[in-house]
Amino acid sequence: MASYSTSEFRAGLKIIMDGDPYNIVENEFVKPGKGQAFNRVKIRNLRTGKVLDRNFKSGDAVEAADVSDMEFQYLYNDGEMWHFMNPENYEQLAADKTAMGDAGKWLKGEEVCIITLWNGRPLSVQAPVFATLKITHCEPGVRGDTVSGATKPATVETGATVQVPLFVNEGEIIKVDTRTGKYSARVKE
């Protein structure tokens, strides 16, 4: 079993706590001049996203999590699972709703996503930062209104809803920042 000593703790290190994989978000070395040293860490559960504070006695060892990020191409959704393919060896894998999070909202097909794997199983899926999507439904545009900052809801081809500026029309193509789910720009065909 691979493990890390507290002296190896750094932001970004992946560890196992109570059977779950965690990412170290922050690590602070705390030591009174004449006393026991501790590592005070903030860790994020890679399954649930929950952030916890933990104290470790310095020198203690913690189980390492076999977590890695890999690129996969999105294939299709069978109604329950999202299917992906490794473009290098054509190996396929499927991610469930929990692992997908919001990523599924932005996928049409063939997008290259980053999948975080834990012991070979998908833990989370990141869609490409920008999704280029056609608007399938929204209220008619207000011509010339490019400054008011007002928005209206628009449905895009994947079924997701995005707040768009008033001048945007149905049938147009827009770029969405998938990290925030926010409209980013209009794209000319």
Binding site: F29, P32, G33, N55
Partner: protein, 333 residues
């Protein structure tokens, strides 16, 4: 299965890693503080001394790790973790009041408030008791750190624990420490082989120390006898170590002792530390027999204190991390 730690930092990072992490203004501030420190001790007629950083003996302290240096011929040296032992030899030799500014080395201590190599100011005053020395620390810090020059707060270790952690450190067990941590929403390490002082250190670090020195300086004195280190223990109920620490904005700046004069007692403590090290798989280190012989020949009654200069500088500069005041911290050294 071996997982490669992907974040292990390489020796040479390339790019900008040749540059200092501290800005020029903070390097100038360091030079300015050094001048003030020299003036401070000169005016008080305390003699500046210089003792070796490389020593054949090492500190036995349970919570300090010395860097080991091997010469080509096989002689083993240790980088000092503080200049305390040779300075006490100078005191025993009749040097009178002495002070020193030096680099010290503590393996494994790295973080926002730690660098394995750091600058210490250490001084000894003949005939001083801890209270008189605490006042002198306050005077020095008032010059180096104007923000800390308002009225200082003095409390015993016990009072500080009672006030901030609702715990009597002299009458509590592991369960009580766990309970106060839990009530305060702090994480309690589960499978931990912490001893009583370890639990107190955890409570102190979580609940007590962060609250000290919010306005002016905060001094804590009369530590548990089990944490005496090189301080003398004053009999009583409970017996306490005549040891103090100074804090500002939750950060420990100085540690002082009413120095232990009893050579036999000192040897017993070194021996106890060695036994602890052996039973806990820590490296064994040679005792400083020169220090013990010096104590036998007679150390004058004195109090001594060590002050971490980099932290003082960090606070004076309004910086958040030591990297901002050390030109090349260990990652770039």
């Amino acid at each position: 299965m071996k997982i490669q730690n992907p974040l292990q930092s390489p020796v040479f990072e390339g790019g900008d890693s040749w540059r200092p992490t501290a800005g020029l203004a903070n390097l100038r501030l360091r030079a300015e503080l050094l001048k003030k420190i020299r003036t401070f001790f000169e005016l008080r007629e305390v003699l500046e001394v210089d003792t070796p950083a490389l020593s054949r003996a090492a500190a036995t302290d349970r919570h300090l790790a010395s860097f080991r240096v091997e010469s080509a011929t096989g002689t083993r040296f240790y980088l000092h973790t503080s200049p305390e032992f040779p300075m006490k030899r100078l005191l025993a030799a009749g040097a009178g009041d002495i002070w020193q500014l030096c680099k010290v080395f503590r393996e494994g201590e790295a973080g926002r408030l730690h660098n394995p190599e750091f600058t210490l100011i250490e001084w000894y005053r003949l005939g001083f008791d801890p209270h008189r020395l605490m006042r002198e620390v306050q005077e020095l810090l008032a010059e180096l750190l104007p923000a800390a020059s308002s009225a200082a707060e003095y409390s015993t270790y016990r009072e500080a624990f009672q006030r901030h952690a609702y715990l009597d450190p002299f009458n509590c067990g592991k369960q009580d420490c766990m309970r106060v941590l839990q009530i305060s929403g702090r994480h309690v390490p589960a499978e931990s082989d912490l001893d009583h002082d370890g639990w107190l250190d955890l409570v102190a670090g979580e609940l007590v120390y962060p609250k000290l020195g919010r306005q002016g300086l905060s001094f804590i004195y009369d530590y548990p006898a089990s944490q005496a280190a090189l301080a003398r223990v004053r009999a009583g109920d409970p017996a306490v170590a005549e040891r103090f620490e100074a804090f500002f904005r939750g950060i420990e700046l100085a540690n002082g002792f009413h120095e232990l004069l009893d050579a036999a007692e000192q040897r017993r403590r070194f021996q106890a530390d060695r036994d602890y090290r052996r039973s806990h798989g820590l490296p064994e280190v040679p005792l400083d027999e020169n220090l013990l012989t010096a104590l036998e020949s007679g150390l004058p009654d004195c109090a001594g204190v060590a002050l971490g200069l980099d932290r003082v500088l960090m606070l004076a500069a309004g910086a958040h991390s030591l990297d901002e005041v050390i030109a090349f911290p260990s990652g770039r050294a």
